[in-house]
């Protein structure tokens, strides 16, 4: 059992990174499925009905909503990274990180409520 | 058990002297194999890193090397080896340009872009080049980067334990060391060896140098029969932090500028006492203030931990916190409020002017052995100017590198080691591992007290004689005290023992030399002989060990450049 540094993992900044990575990873996993489904579902007029039926499926609705949520979270996290990397350095990154996350969550929640 | 290898040049120590020597030796002849052994990590041990004030150099218009020279000689109370002092002040100019232009140090600038020189006590010109108050970090980091970038063989965490002469005794053959990480011995045979272990008066109860310094170099040189000079000259800094027992914070230096900026020194009853000693009050020179505090302490007018207070608050805590940011933060980390409250301080052993007798080119009396930096004696005489310490180590370290490269060209073979001596030194280094384990801490505490009480800031014949006796007694006790011989890898307690032995050996020399000097010069103060004595007939002490006996003699100072009463400065001479 090699002693490990753990302190940084309790930090909002590090959590912001983790959320960004997990959301990126999740997007990378679900996006192919999203594309696959779209491509399969709408092949000509004949399957349009099938597609419409398919999108009415609550499970699909949930999955699609999740994707949008991930996209929003990941985008905001990504914007944060781009700001750190490219704007003249300012302190207060922590607030920015938490703010961005909070915004994403609220946006997603609003969306979920509406979609339901 | 004993691993051996050969190298052309072996450097002991990675302070300013050692690192510069490595660079210059490599530069002088890149085909030479240069090996650098150091007790800690390369560049991360020793005192050069701890330099706060800066580096004295006569670079600015209005200043001159003559002026810097005269300050050095007068500061050294006419004891310095004048040729060394001259070499120091003249080469410092080139060395600072080298540090800036080739090594990459980025010193602070004036508003017009030229190098900034700050004021340092005891000097007639503001010539101390610096990088904030962390000059040493800048110098050593840049030097270590350069050494890392070159094919220098690094022996990190290697402790040199003995200089091994050649079989014919005519020259040095190599150095025995302990690889601290494994606890195994290494014998490194070298054509030229540089002693740059940085002295370090850490045998005093209160001391500033880094924990790795324990006079090993001087102890090894003494044992090898090499003469040492000015051994009574221990410089005390007046304001070391006093944080109580069992903490390594105690003794660490609180910067000089605090007094300069108007800080007050108060005794235990919070009375300002400097007026009793000097009209310049707290702004008096280091030695005067140190003696005043020491006198207060001996009179028992002390703070709870036995020192005096420094107070800055009356200057406005915010102002102090801004002006002395680093110092205030350091105190705060350790639990003290320097900006607003009272902080306990004591004089603390800071620098060792004494060292190995050597030539201007760093050669010693033992062919093949060279010396530079705080291990060398002569450049500072009775007192070192603040800012002349790094100058000394970097100037002579560089010179040593060149001298050694030239020496190796002339002496291409290293002498076969004297195996008997090597064998005896192996036994000596393992002595503590064979004796019954005992209480090393008590011995250390006793040594610290003896040196502080009897061989400290104010000395007299009775105390020195008493000190010598007690030193003999603890040396005997140390030799009978062992450390457990379990795992030898990174066995700090074994090394503590070896440190103690070096410290005791050199403490005896300091005490002997202090007894020998029956006057008061610079850092050396005898209350039974408070006068400086006739300057024109100044002598310096030379100590050497012959046949196990310590001999201390006086030698007349050679005024090769300027005599007492004269000056190199035109305006002063008129």
């Amino acid at each position: 059992m090699r002693p490990h540094t753990t302190s940084h993992r309790r930090d909002a900044l590090w959590l912001a990174f983790l959320v960004h990575r997990i959301s990126g990873l999740a997007l990378a996993c679900f996006l192919p499925l999203h594309f696959l489904a779209l491509g399969l579902a709408i092949r000509g007029e004949a399957t349009l009905d099938g597609f419409l039926k398919w999108t009415a499926n609550p499970l699909v609705k949930l999955a699609e909503t999740g994707l949008v949520f991930l996209l929003a979270v990941h985008m905001l996290g990504g914007m944060r990274v781009l700001v750190i990397e490219n704007m003249p350095w300012r302190d207060g990154q922590k607030r920015f990180a938490t703010g961005a996350l909070a915004f994403a969550i609220i946006a997603a929640a609003v969306f979920l409520v509406r979609a339901a | 058990m004993l691993e051996r290898f050969k190298t052309d040049i072996l450097i002991l120590g990675s302070g300013g002297a050692g690192l510069f020597a490595a660079l210059h030796a490599h530069q002088a002849n890149p085909s030479l194999q240069v090996t650098l052994a150091t007790k800690g990590l390369l560049g991360k041990c020793g005192c050069t890193r701890m330099v706060q004030g800066g580096y004295n150099v006569a670079l600015n218009p209005g200043d001159s090397v003559e002026r810097h020279f005269m300050d050095t000689i007068e500061g050294g109370k006419w004891l310095p080896n004048q040729d060394m002092a001259w070499k120091l002040v003249t080469t410092a100019v080139e060395r600072v340009r080298e540090l800036e232009n080739e090594i990459g140090c980025f010193f602070d600038r004036n508003a017009d872009g030229t190098l900034h020189g700050k004021a340092f006590a005891g000097q007639t010109f503001d010539r101390t080049v610096h990088k904030g108050d962390l000059t040493g970090i800048e110098i050593i980091n840049r030097l270590m980067e350069q050494v890392w970038a070159r094919p220098v063989r690094r022996l990190e965490e290697h402790r040199a334990v003995a200089l091994i002469p050649a079989r014919d005794g005519a020259s040095l053959s190599g150095v025995l060391m302990i690889d601290i990480r494994t606890g195994l011995f290494r014998f490194v045979e070298a054509k030229a060896v540089l002693l740059a272990t940085g002295g370090g008066p850490t045998m005093y109860r209160y001391h500033t140098p880094s924990g790795d310094k324990s006079m090993d170099g001087l102890a090894m040189a003494l044992r090898a029969g090499v003469p040492l000079r000015d051994m009574e000259m221990v410089q005390f800094h007046p304001t070391g932090l006093l944080a109580g027992v069992d903490t390594r914070m105690t003794g660490t230096v609180l910067e000089e500028g605090l007094r300069g900026a108007g800080g007050h020194l108060l005794d235990g009853a919070q009375r300002r006492f400097m007026a009793d000693y000097d009209p310049k009050l707290e702004r008096a020179t280091r030695d005067v203030v140190s003696r005043a505090i020491y006198a207060e302490m001996r009179a028992g007018r002390t703070t709870p931990n036995g020192g005096v207070y420094i107070k800055m608050g009356h200057l406005g805590p915010e102002k102090v916190a801004k002006q002395f940011k680093g110092m205030v933060e350091r105190c705060a980390d350790c639990g003290f409020d320097l900006a607003g409250g009272l902080v306990e301080v004591v004089p603390t052993a800071h620098y060792f002017m004494g060292g190995v007798v050597c030539d201007v080119d760093t050669a010693t009396g033992l062919p093949g052995l060279f010396v530079a930096g705080e291990d060398s004696g002569g450049a500072h005489g009775a007192n070192r100017l603040g800012g002349n310490g790094v100058a000394n180590s970097t100037v002579f370290g560089g010179i040593a590198g060149e001298t050694m490269a030239a020496w190796v060209a002339r002496n291409p073979a290293s002498g076969e080691p004297d195996e008997d001596i090597l064998g005896a030194e192996l036994v000596r280094a393992q002595l503590p591992l064979t004796a019954k384990a005992g209480d090393l801490n008590r011995l250390r505490e006793r040594l610290l007290d003896i040196m502080w009480d009897d061989v400290g800031v104010i000395r007299n014949a009775a105390g020195l004689a008493r000190g010598l006796d007690k030193l003999g007694a603890i040396e005997d006790e140390l030799l009978a005290t062992g450390v457990p011989d379990g795992d030898r890898a990174f066995n700090l307690t074994w090394h503590d023992w070896l440190n103690l032995r070096s410290l005791i050996e050199i403490s005896k020399v300091i005490t002997g030399a202090a007894l020998k000097r029956e006057n008061s010069r610079g850092a050396h103060y005898r209350e039974d002989f408070p006068e400086a004595g006739d300057l024109a007939t100044s002598t310096f002490t030379v100590a050497r060990q012959r046949g196990g006996r310590l001999e201390i003699s006086d030698q007349p100072v050679q005024f090769t450049i300027v005599r007492p009463g004269e000056s190199l400065l035109k305006e002063a001479a008129e």
Binding site: M1, R2, P3, T5, S7, H8, D11, L13, W14, F17, R21, V81, I84, E85, N86, W89 | G40, L41, K44, C45, R49, M50, E94, R95, V96, E98, E100, N101, E102, I103, F106, A111, D112, G113, T114, G136, E138, E145, W148, G211, D212, A243, G244, V245, D246, T247, R248, M249, T252, V253, R330, D333, C334, G335, L440, N441, A489, F490, L492, T493
Partner: protein, 238 residues
Amino acid sequence: MTNTIEVSLWRGKADGRYQTFSVPQRENQTVLDVVTWVQRNADPTLSYRFACRVGMCGSCAMTVNGRPRWTCRTHTSKVVENGRLEIGPLANLPVIKDLTCDMQAFFEKWQKAKGVFAPSKTKNDPIEKILPGSPPRQAADAAIECINCAVCFAACDTVRWNEDYVGPAALNRAWTLVNDVRDAGNRDRLSAVAAGGGCHACHSHQSCQEHCPKALNPTASIAGLKRRTMQAYIRREL
């Protein structure tokens, strides 16, 4: 002294374990003092490293209650939790023994990032005039006071996960040199930090900046390198 601290110290190499000691607590006491107390009074074989004891040499960094810190300037009162301290060697570097780690890799990476000044002048030239307020000088100054303690290196998960990554301290040093107008090595340096394992491996975790005892900001330095290398790349200079 009535109060004691329960101190768990890492013993052995990478496959070691924690061993607990009871250490008297003092009013003025650093974590380094605690470790020293154990070596002097409880277990003489305990190994640790320090030199300057005032926060200048960067030799004494250890993991204290899960957080990398300089131990000589960490007062126990700031870190003791419920009367306990857990002290281990720095993470992300091989353990030599007990609390000491091998810093070789850290300095090799410093070299790999070309964290070494490349002169454009010699000692025979005058010292270059540099205005203290000029932006490059200020940028260099902001990052220069690193003591190479490797605390940031131990705190960075990218260092842990990516063996090629040179790490925050090395890049922070490279950034000071990029801003050093006297330096002649920036073409090489930018190529070095733009290669795999260079500045682009950093994900701006910012742990380095959060943990640096000198309050330096390697994240900002690395971001600077990312911008500078990107410009150079777009201008086809890399």
